[in-house]
Symmetry: C2
Subunit: 388 residues, 2 copies
Amino acid sequence: MSQTTIGVIGGGQLARMMYAPATKLGIELHLLAEGPDVGAARIFKHVTVGDYTDQATVRAFAADCQIITFDHEHVPTWILRDLVHDGKLVRPGPGALQHAQDKLLMRRRLTDSLDAPAPKWRACADADELAAFGAEIGFPIIAKASRGGYDGHGVWKLDSPSDTGIPFAEALAESAGEKVEIIGEEFIDFVRELSVIVVRSPSGQAVAYPVSETIQREGVCRETITPAPGLSEDQATQITKLGLDIADELQVTGVLAVELMQRADGSVVVNELAMRPHNTGHWTIDGAHTSQFENHLRAVLDLPLGDPRMRDRWCVMVNVLGGTNEDLPSELLHCFARDPRLRVEFYGKQIRPGRKVGHVNCYGDDLDQVRARAKHAAHYLMGDIRKG
Amino acid sequence: MSQTTIGVIGGGQLARMMYAPATKLGIELHLLAEGPDVGAARIFKHVTVGDYTDQATVRAFAADCQIITFDHEHVPTWILRDLVHDGKLVRPGPGALQHAQDKLLMRRRLTDSLDAPAPKWRACADADELAAFGAEIGFPIIAKASRGGYDGHGVWKLDSPSDTGIPFAEALAESAGEKVEIIGEEFIDFVRELSVIVVRSPSGQAVAYPVSETIQREGVCRETITPAPGLSEDQATQITKLGLDIADELQVTGVLAVELMQRADGSVVVNELAMRPHNTGHWTIDGAHTSQFENHLRAVLDLPLGDPRMRDRWCVMVNVLGGTNEDLPSELLHCFARDPRLRVEFYGKQIRPGRKVGHVNCYGDDLDQVRARAKHAAHYLMGDIRKG
């Protein structure tokens, strides 16, 4: 079999879900994990436990791998540049990846090079500049830390000029003293959020999955509906083109997730980018001909990409968050008895309230039924539905 | 997460393909492997290398597991009976499993308890008895070793009374001196072979997958077509009922594969039984709502079984046998470029001529196209189609 070994940095569920398609393709995956008990480390055969911000650790890990890819975007860019200099294939490369690490860089690049639709935005050096931006465009405004945010962390809604000191103080505290830039952004009164997952290979082939509607609560993705209901063909084409244009402009390798906000008039703005398999693409495991995880690996290997189209009319994913149930697999008794087509994936993580510990997928012809099935199962697994 | 650990005895591709659904269900799988480099040992995190015919080895391996299941049927029955005595859940249990280990026992039980359709058969103690059986029903006849056969080994076609010494001599040689009984069987002039995969849980729930046509060459499965073309609804119902009846009669837990021969008049006889995920069920990974591997685990865990029905009209599997290509993953460049819906699974085994090293699945509405796609890909991967 092939000698190709891919090293995955980061041991969360995204790395974990790469393991099955890698096994099928006969590719060996090695893991650099934050600890021995994280979700991917529980199932990978080849695990190194170490700090991905330590260059010696990353270099030693990469020594056995031909290609490096990621579970998250937090590896320092300079460490990745040195890996490239060492001759490693880093996919996505540091030049692309920094646009998922640094929101200010992303806003600048997407505005300057692509004129991509965005909220009004401005880099602000201090509370006064942020207050001036707010006065100019009108409160409320959104403030974002340029780095380190995830699942709603590092994002603030500010209602008045007197709030504008908060993001600077909190970002400084969270960044352990390292300078974090703050971006002021127009508050978009969106009617819903959308996501498009595109996958691009180094040779330039790219595929786009159907656009999903995503339902977030407190900054955490709770549900996706694919395809996004009521999206016109023109809108879907425009959003898909935007995703493909961004992937091409940034020379992304692998999955690029573009999260968008949609206004009442149907127009959209780019909210965030991610360059790795993404929560809003988990439906593809059961709902598409080729999952985002397999296509990510195929891109990373520069193999032709698989068909991203749907196998059924609708697919709904609902995240399972940590709740009152400690032993999730035993809760499957009810869920599987009720729904023989339910698809469940657990992440092997310790249960903590609100933490993403798994997801369910349902697919079928009737959206209302599909949603009801997925939501019932997820809520049952979370312990929100009491046993009688 | 759950503390349930399932121990799998045997490190081939069947164990390997259990790993992905176990991961999804949040269940830990441990492996007892024949060597460190067998297909499943290359990807399982928890691997013990040892001899499954050595009781101390099996007992030590089972100590960390609540449930034991199998990649093959070759663990001695007395070792399994002692495990049950130790309080382990052995699924399928030794009382069921011996009917897949011992073809004579199987023939007796299926004939006596179920009057299941079978070739005429007789247990024969020596060449003279076998010759007498042949004289009675007419040559050619089939001889089978009661134990130890696989992929065509341990099966002989005998054209005349002068051949009847061969199976006894060869079986004795292969069994390292241990007595092997020989069964004489009527030669069935079958027009095709069929297989039905059923899955049964300890609580008695059972599901049946659609009946497949299977195409064998030299005793090795090369292709399956599901559903079996041209099978009448009555025939499909009869075969499905036969599979479910056998699973119930033998109190099987997990997958039971019933291989059948079909005569020109449409009637069938039982050829072989297997009690583990089976080559003729690999199509279920991509073609059914729930794969045979997930349903095997769900049965072993006594969880409700998943829907065995097809997601598309047709699904064709073609095995990839070892050929001239040493580096299979790199051959995917052509296959994936040609067919974006091709599904491929490699087994992580060293390439040896004729050895099963992977399979491909294709599904769709047009059987001719689906077969052509699957065969092209498999033949290309085997090196039968020359590049250039």
